[in-house]
Amino acid sequence: MGDGCPVAEAILQRLARGDRAAVQSCLDAYGGLVWSLALRQSPSRADAEDVVQDIFVELWRTAERYDPSKGTEATFIATIARRRLIDRRRTRVRERRRIVPVADLEVESIPSQEHERIERFADAMLARKALRSLPPDRRRVLLLSVDQGLTHEQIAQATGLPMGTVKSHLRRGLQTLRNLLHGSSEDKAEAS
């Protein structure tokens, strides 16, 4: 796992050394990803802008903790983004979320010309394959969680599935991804 391109891999190490120029590189490489994640899970653009600033402040401070053996830089940054977005979600009071129709939550194909641009997102590409391989119900539940940021309870409401089934789908879906990222041949074969 963690097969990001060498140039991208160096960004977090440079940040950890206090290299100011690496900030530009980081925003070039991952600014769009973080911004897009924030947009998808925030009630407004203003909220998205706030949380993106928080995410990058945390990244500047914690870049040294990145361990390439765990995954790509993009995934490390996404762990920070997810945590910040979840924190925001939990602190929002009486939030009325726009729940995307489940049918719209499909893993779209990527135009071939973009493949090169997203090489640095090796983990995400692997995860994309895995998501496609999941049974439809499991995939929908997982996407409602990771893409929409819904709680287990909200997912149960949105899908009409019992809470236990929601949890089970999530666990199994994430475990498939986890095994794939860890190089389990069985899961890789299933995903490809």
Partner: protein, 269 residues
């Protein structure tokens, strides 16, 4: 998949949703100890990879203004730049002729020394790098004032409290880095066994009854100190720094019996 792994993945998935209970924590520790191929953040990384995957097909460029804001504030949060020293030249391999040439040079020096006034002989000793020393608070303060883009510097002055002495100085605070220092002189020395000074930071975004704990500190006999500020939580909009005298170790909520030093924005004085 074995049942224990099922349980482990169940708990780690649950942890993505809510903090685990103490019992669950114990269970996770035990299960991780017996499953070396698992780590605590496996599901966090899996979920993050899935999150990225879901966003890949619709990545939007970050708005230019937001990018500029992030760029302008980044320097406040990055670690200090590390300057790498040039590599030391490799030592030359010793020559079998070296002892002889040294002896010859010594003999020549002895002869010359007879006939000429003594000259200073300089022996080149390899310089040993000094041991790594943590920068002092004063050095860290200098680094902060030199590098932080935004800095609050408020005069510190003694109150009327009899324990305040002739205290004066400055509060220095970087909102961006959430880091700062108190620079005092004239503050009476304390006996840490009896009482300690404690800093409170009043944040305009919080209720005044709950200022942010800025940490406890001691003052020695010379009364001149530079003390790092250790804010317990993020300070969003500081409006007042206050130093109180408290029981050893500090308190969670001050009774404010002895407020000895205050620091406020100039316009508020």
């Amino acid at each position: 998949m074995s049942a224990p792994t099922d349980r482990l993945s169940e708990l780690l998935t649950e942890e993505l949703e809510r903090p685990l209970t103490q019992d669950e924590e114990g269970e996770v520790h035990a299960l991780l100890a017996s499953h070396a191929d698992w780590s605590r953040d496996d599901m966090v990384w899996a979920a993050a990879a899935a999150t990225s995957a879901s966003a890949l097909s619709a990545i939007e460029p970050m708005p230019k203004e937001l990018r500029e804001r992030i760029l302008s504030e980044a320097a406040d949060h990055l670690p200090a730049p590390v300057h790498e020293l040039p590599a030391r030249p490799e030592p030359q391999p010793s020559s079998p002729w070296l002892p002889w040439s040294v002896a010859a040079a010594a003999a020549l020096a002895a002869v010359v020394g007879w006939s000429r006034p003594p000259v200073e002989v300089r022996v080149e000793v390899e310089k040993v790098p000094p041991p790594v020393v943590e920068p002092s608070p004063a050095e860290r303060l200098s680094a902060l004032t030199a590098s932080a883009s935004t800095l609050i510097r408020w005069e510190a002055s003694a109150t009327e409290d009899p324990l305040a002495g002739e205290a004066r100085g400055e509060f220095v605070w970087s909102p961006g880095r959430q880091e700062g220092f108190m620079v005092f002189e004239g503050l009476p020395a304390n006996d840490p066994e009896q009482a300690q000074y404690q800093l409170w930071i009043f944040d305009d975004t919080r209720r005044a009854e709950h200022p942010v704990d800025g940490g406890v500190f001691d003052v020695g006999q010379d009364g001149q100190i530079v003390v790092p500020i250790h804010a317990a939580i993020k300070v969003r909009k500081p409006k007042l720094f206050a130093v109180t005298v408290e029981a050893p170790g500090g308190v969670v909520v001050s009774e404010r019996k002895h407020i000895v030093v205050l620091g406020q924005p100039p316009q508020a004085l």
